[in-house]
Amino acid sequence: MARMKFLCDAERCIECNGCVTACKNENEVPWGVNRRRVVTINDGVIGAEKSISVACMHCSDAPCMAVCPVDCFYRTDDGVVLHDKDLCIGCGYCFYACPFGAPQFPQAGAFGLRGKMDKCTFCAGGPEVDRSEAEFKKYGRNRLSEGKLPACAEMCSTKALLGGDGDVISDIYRERVARRGNKGAEAWGWGSAYGQPAKASAPAAPAGGKS
């Protein structure tokens, strides 16, 4: 069963913002909303500066789902975390809970009034009828229903951003890291989004230990 995930290879990202542009264009994201953005870490530090492309990671145990007071989030069979804009009240709790700053809020009126939350959908649309006009207007294009991967990952020129089933993209990444001599093996954000592997068991207490 496919579990859709994103993986950004910081060794390859050249901060071209092609993913950001692809997302904006594909989904006709409104002005002021960035579903995806490129973040620079250690800016200006020679040899340590890295760029990573960040959006909703579609976490295994999504904190946004846990905190939403109206329970508007749901997970598809592919593991994509989506939300229903008809239920969203734009409270912003998900924004505070998200470790990636993924939820975005368009300005809905004067005095900074927040609109309904908008975020990366893994190009999987929303609860409206697939490929319908209503779905496109609210959530953007549904590429998964067309048998395609998210536009950002498919558009990435250096293939720094990988999108797809967790097993497949981690295999690609593993092979890549081995090929370049184990350099840059950190899969940024994977620990926060998909958790660390469970420890086998707690170490047994030494015999004759403290009483």
Binding site: A2, L82, N142, S145, E146, G147, L149, D165, V168, I169
Partner: protein, 77 residues
């Protein structure tokens, strides 16, 4: 007079009625209308092909697309 009073009470209490606010397609553990899985859509004529409703065929074709992200494999092919 009594009828009028009953009518007034009925109108006044109508506001207290709790209206069901859940979506019609609600299922346990899923609070919104259940989204149609991607493989239940008809493939586009000029796009990737799979058998409508067959999850395995959809996953098979999207896996090919995922593997195409591995440029070292593409070069060797």
């Amino acid at each position: 007079m009594r009828r009028l009073l009953l009518l007034a009470v009925a109108i006044a209490l109508a506001g207290c009625m709790e209206v069901e606010q859940a979506n019609s397609g609600r299922q346990s553990g899923q609070t919104v209308k259940r989204d149609v899985p991607a493989w239940n859509n008809e493939p586009l004529a000029n796009g990737p092909q799979w058998v409508k409703g067959d999850r395995a065929s959809w996953e098979g074709q999207i896996k090919k697309r995922q593997l195409a992200q591995n440029e070292s494999r593409r070069i060797s092919e």
